[in-house]
C-alpha cells in the first residue's frame, strides 16, 4: 500500500508549485490558474486524510471547496474581463493604483 504521507507530499509539492506560480507569474490568468491548483492540492490532502481516518467528512469539504473554486473563478474572470477592458493589459504589476 502507498502510505498516506506519500499523497500528502504530492499535495504539498503541488501546493508549492502553485505558490511559486502565484509569486512569479505576471499574467493574471495564469495566476488564477495557480490559485486553482493550490485549491486542488488542498483537496487532495483532504481526500487523503478522509481515507486515512476512514470517515467521509473530507469529501464534503472537498465538495464545498469545489463550489468556492467555481464561484471564485466566475467572479475572478469577470474581473479580469473588466480590468482588461479598462486597461488593455493583463499584467498584474500594472494594477498598482492602491499603493501607499
Amino acid at each position: 500500500m502507498v502510505p498516506i504521507s506519500a499523497y500528502l507530499i504530492v499535495a504539498v509539492v503541488l501546493f508549492g508549485i502553485g505558490t511559486m506560480g502565484v509569486l512569479i507569474s505576471r499574467n493574471i490568468i495564469v495566476l488564477f490558474m495557480c490559485v486553482e491548483l493550490m485549491l486542488n492540492a488542498a483537496n487532495l490532502a483532504l481526500i487523503a486524510f478522509s481515507r486515512s481516518l476512514n470517515i467521509m467528512d473530507g469529501h464534503a469539504f472537498v465538495f464545498l471547496v469545489l463550489t468556492v473554486a467555481a464561484a471564485e473563478a466566475a467572479v475572478g474572470l469577470a474581473m479580469v474581463i473588466t480590468i482588461y477592458n479598462n486597461r488593455e493589459s493583463i499584467n498584474i504589476d500594472r494594477f498598482n493604483i492602491l499603493k501607499w
Binding site: 500500500m1 469529501h59 469545489l66 468556492v68 466566475a74 474581463i81 473588466t82
Partner: protein, 194 residues
Amino acid sequence: MTLDMFIFVFSAIVAVFGATMMISQRNPVAAVLYLIVSLVAQAVLYVQLGSVFMGAVLIIVYAGAILVLFVFVIMMLNLRGKEDLGDNSPPISRATKYIISMLMVAEFVFIVHGSVFSGPGGGMLEAETVAGFGSVEGIAKLLFTRYLYPFELTSILLLSAVVGAVVMAKRREIHEQSDSGSVSIDNDSNEGVK
C-alpha cells in the same frame, strides 16, 4: 513495486509535471492544457484513494467547466502570450521567490514526515474502508444531514457569484451610458500607470 505503487508514482509524476509546465508557459492556452493534464492525474489519485465520485467530479467540473471558462476568457480577450509582461522591477527578486516557495514545501514535507502520520502503523492506509466510502450515497447523506446548512449556503454563494460576474462583466456598458461618471473606473486609470 506493486501496481498500486506504480499507478501512484506515475500519476504523481504526471501531476507535478503538468503543474510545473503550467507555470512555465508564456502562452495561457498552453498553460490551461497543462493544468488539465495535472488535474486528470490528480483525479487518478482520487480514485486510487477510493473516492471515485470526487475524482469524476474533479474532471467534470474542473477540466470540463472551470478550465473551459478560462479558455473561453482567453479566447475572448484574444491573448496570445505576446502581451506586454515586461518586468516592472519588483522589489523582491525572482530567485528569492523560488527560494521561499521551496522552503515552504520543505517545511511542509518536514511536518508531514515528522509529526502526525509517522506514528504507530507507519501512516499506512487501512485496507478496509467503511461501507460505501466515497460513494455518491455516502456523500449525499453527509451533505443533506450534517452539512446541510453549509451546503445550502453554497447555493447562496453561487447565486451571488453569478450576480457578481454578470454585474461586473456588464459594467462597461453602464459606465458608457452614464455621463456623470458616478461609476468611474477610467478616472483613475490614467494615473494608475505611473
